[in-house]
Symmetry: C3
Subunit: 482 residues, 3 copies
């Protein structure tokens, strides 16, 4: 069933080992703990009076309150961010992984390749993002915030994975991840550092970028005969339930995602709250639209699994701003409507007219809602006033607070950032798409896309030789005879 | 298969859109960020010396330690409560949602309607609860604590959903939620504010209320011919495993649930610990009772999935009190026994004699253990002494600490609260039940209850026209031919 | 199908009730809240100026900063450790529970017995660990740290459960847990208190101990005719997906596991970060090795489900040390390679030559990586210098910091600890194995191992009388006729 060209026996080990060894060498040369992770550096700043209660023997050095700023263990960013980090981590590995298990015979690959490319991407992203904005004296300093950022970058790669799901080999996906992580970091650097845009939850950097990059890749990898695998490009009952595990985890933890790297205090609090209400409103518009667009009023699992999440995407830029609860709800409400309409009417057009075979519909979940989120962010930034933000302006729009620019100009920055992101994603996807078209990665033939069997030992294979469910039948017969 | 009267094409969109638009309008008029979420207000109170380390440019205002109470970012309630909030959120969406997937052909509806009515209820609860105890100058102030409370109120609605599971349309469920959330908020206001009762984990407000409300609704919606759907009102192997995901999440995070809105410090710590031991003891009594009551000593998944959780319910009121570890274990131990006995002996009687068709057995998981929890809470309150609580009395029983009332009288308050809750739930359920009996909501006929197909596109439907598993078979045949 | 000797009707209730009643009595006599959980004691130390903002009425007592050390609610260890505790809790109940659902017909038992023995073990471990290192004036003081430690001890029991999975009755497992928890606590006391070793994530105390104890038990319980159940000792498609839920949760939360009880501040931060990178590197080497060792280059789910976790095990001792990011990655990389090689080549040898029937391959996931972790810990300890650790040495190696011993000697302590652990585990497993061999526990016969049906009501049993899947077929027929 599996031809030699898709055999991963050498291809996959070679790329995995080479990549990991390169990562290890680069980490050895470039990467250090930041001062909150390093034993010596943290303890140099620590106020012994506030040490953990399990350590009673005081330090001898004098320490007067007026002399210098002292730290307690609680000032360690770990306690501000680690719970959010773990929520983001669940979204990346369980959320994205299981969301894509909806295909009837592609669950191993969905969860398993998600796992592989995420584990690679987060290491590579540590280097790339560190290179662009974490260098201190020639070294990349890492800690919980860089871990969250690495997970964020990984999220963009997984969005692109959704566009090409079922049609690529793991080697191809790793190659895509190498380039996408790099380009993501460049784009992120341009947006956040050069342009001074705000995008805490990544409507632009993560969702818009990941979606349009992936859509362009899948366009270049267009398979005219993909309908030969059409019968496998759908769900069965239990695969839809597995996918709902992914959906619900993404939905629940999106408030943590958007607030994970905002400033401490009111900013994290506000971002989580805005996202929570955006998602709730989005869920209602998704259910309404799903029933409305069905010919018999029946809800479509594809909409529920995906469009109900669009409210989180669309709150990714403006979530940390003073969007107000009602503003968040309106954004979520619109995102759900747009997303369902996209699945129902736009995706078939994209596939037929533009030859974009978008397996998971990332255009509807991440693309359009991401653009919506970017626009909402630009508008919300443009109308910011000191009357509304008070001294909190400094956290959200530091350049506006310092009087360097006006709020309207911050809005312009946000809009330019969206344009840059779209450009980078499309051009990047174009180039990487052609690179991935090379016939050296062991991509599956058109007839056996959306099928685990090509890259995985599927239960029953070896013992039975013909097909997969046979084992179950056999053991049932045996059970009867037993 | 699906008649016109159950068609949701117009009914569901209309109610979803109308409800969400009403919510948006009311939020626009009434809801504001509280001072810990609002940029201006939080920064007005913030001590610049304690600002997040990523913000170095200090504020100019003078700030002496003796002059006024200053805040650091850590004082933001977000850091005290957000991890608990996320655990509660998982219980509401994954816990309740998957717990109900035990039915063989009702997984889409269990997770999906759970998702829909929870997303609606948490928005509506924000308004209703805010109206009763969050108004400040005509505005409802919201933050992480109100988000937890909204999730709590949603929990009660989902408990009632468990009683009517499989026999209602999504429109009916939304209508039920509208009224139940309202009544929940009234009851909660009476208990916590008027009567001064304590019920941090909601043995009364959430579990007793949700259960008896739902039981009364299902009594009014009694279907004499429900046995026509009997063959679908049971589990299959994998549906029981999906349900165990729900069970285990509820079990693990119940300590967070009960402690989510207690006072900071020892109170949250103690409540989590008490709940942890109550649940552990409950699990052992559940396994023992399940084997003991089976004719062949085999464990029953229904008991494990449900009764093992009764220890969390029963610790909902007294968990924050000085219940002691051993007290918690005794409570959990008894709750497990009562709950299994309820499933084994009481539920069949309720159905036959009282015509209460309680699909999930919420009487055994939430009803009786909730009442037990209320009684334990009343007794524990009545025996509280300053010798035991010290200055901590102020957190747990503020009126007793101030000398306004005696501990025994606090116990009486607790007992009255239970009675009020039972009355509100039963009368409310009666009225709402009759309202839901109106033949306008598209409820399923008796012959196709417990079946996703009536409200959901189930995989295989369109292509095959006859029945669901056929798709799988077809693709297997194709796989053989391939 | 189920004979009288495996009937649990009396055996299981008797042991469950006796054990829980003993636990309740011992908790009543011995266990108290620690001062951070107890209302009176915590409030005695609390600084009223820092109280939760929801409590406005100040305490009358004078409170000058210079007079005594005061606490704010944030100093309560609950806020440092509870999020980690919940992550550990998820690993114990979801992680271990679902990891073992890979067997086609043993999902109820995997999740269900995991649940039962964990709920028992955590209570028993509270007592045993408290007896050895939590006694204060004749009482065991408990709080969030003891809850984490109890979960850790439970983890060791669940590892041993993995070795005997499918071949034991629940009564047998509870008896094993009684002895293993006791022995675990003795070994932990010797290592951490007597020998002064460091092992925050339990490479030795949890993984090495749990694995070799379990391996010895399964050796003693050797079943020469186990091949009669061979057809059930394998996975089906969806059971492998359920198992991946367990895998991914273990993988994601392992940073919390290793850092849960380290010192506050940089120590928790560093441990989490080291574990994160160790696991990421391990995942790449696992995928590479899995494809490399397969005859057709196809990935093996057994490797992905298990070996990808070895990086967490191997970072269990050195994770809190200054292992550096690159050091962590090298350790994880090696752990993945060793683990896959173990599954592929060593496990068959162990079974054939040494008669060790290790159902889950715990030797490859916990045994060898645990030993690797212990060695890495010993080496990392031996090379510790004040230049690297600064004042942080006190947290990680207090005896070295005080000048009592040299770093090299700390390394020797670590190595001795590994030897002690191996000895305790093997001798303990030997004795307990023989005890479990007694024919009184209702163990399954060789022909029906790896089968839920023997201890669980499996859907379809009662109504159908022959076999399990029949129900589904029947209802499909009915659906057609309906």
């Amino acid at each position: 069933m599996t031809g030699a060209e898709t055999n991963m026996r050498l291809k996959l080990p070679i790329i995995c080992f080479i990549l990991e060894i390169i990562l290890i060498i680069l980490f050895g040369v470039l990467v250090q703990y930041d001062y909150e992770v390093d034993a010596r550096e943290w303890h140099n700043k620590l106020n012994p009076g506030n040490k953990s209660h399990s350590e009673h023997n005081g330090h001898p050095e004098s320490n007067s309150h007026s002399e210098s700023k002292v730290h307690s263990n609680y000032d360690n960013d770990f306690y501000y961010r680690y719970p959010s980090f773990q929520d983001v981590h669940v979204m990346i590995f369980i959320g994205f992984g299981f969301l894509m298990t909806f295909l009837q015979r592609y669950g191993f690959s969905s969860v398993g390749f998600n796992f592989l490319i995420a584990a690679f991407s987060l290491q590579w992203a540590t280097l790339m993002q560190g290179f662009f904005h974490g260098m201190h004296g020639g070294k990349i300093h890492i800690g919980v915030e860089s871990m969250i950022n690495a997970d964020f970058c990984t999220g963009a790669v997984l969005i692109s994975f959704g566009a090409v799901l079922g049609k690529t080999s793991p080697v191809q996906l790793l190659v895509m991840a190498i380039f996408e992580v790099t380009l993501f970091s460049v784009n992120e650097f341009i947006l956040l550092t050069v342009l001074g845009a705000k995008d805490a939850g990544g409507s632009m950097t993560i969702h818009t970028f990941g979606a349009y990059f992936g859509l362009m890749v899948t366009r270049i990898l267009y398979r005219p005969n993909l309908d030969k695998s059409k019968h496998k490009n759908c769900s069965v009952y239990h695969s839809d339930l597995f996918a709902m595990i992914g959906t619900i985890y993404l939905w629940m933890f999106w408030p943590s995602f958007n607030s994970a790297v905002t400033a401490h205090g009111d900013d994290q609090h506000r971002t989580a709250l805005n996202t929570y209400y955006s998602l709730a409103a989005c869920t209602l518009s998704t259910y309404g639209m799903s029933a409305l667009t069905a010919h018999d009023g029946k809800l479509d699992m594809v909409h529920i699994q995906n469009a109900a999440l669009a409210g989180g995407v669309a709150a990714g830029t403006a979530g940390e701003m003073m969007l107000t609860p009602v503003g968040s709800m309106i954004v979520g409400f619109l995102a759900g409507i747009i997303s369902v309409l996209g699945y129902k009417y736009l995706s078939p057009i994209l596939e037929e007219k533009l030859k974009v075979q978008d397996t998971c519909g990332v255009h509807n979940l991440h693309g359009m809602p991401g653009v919506l989120g970017a626009i909402v962010g630009a508008v919300t930034a443009a109308v910011a006033t000191t009357d509304i933000y008070g001294k909190g302006m400094e956290d959200v729009f530091p350049d506006v607070a310092k009087g360097n620019i006006t709020a309207s100009y911050q809005g312009v920055r946000q809009a330019i950032s969206l344009a840059v992101t779209l450009g980078m994603a499309l051009v990047g996807g174009l180039i990487v798409g052609f690179l991935l078209k090379l016939p050296i990665y062991g991509a599956p033939p058109d007839t056996i896309c959306f099928e685990d069997n090509i890259y995985w030992e599927v239960p029953g294979d070896e013992e039975e030789d013909h097909q997969d469910k046979a084992t179950v039948r056999m053991t049932e017969t045996e059970r009867l005879n037993a």
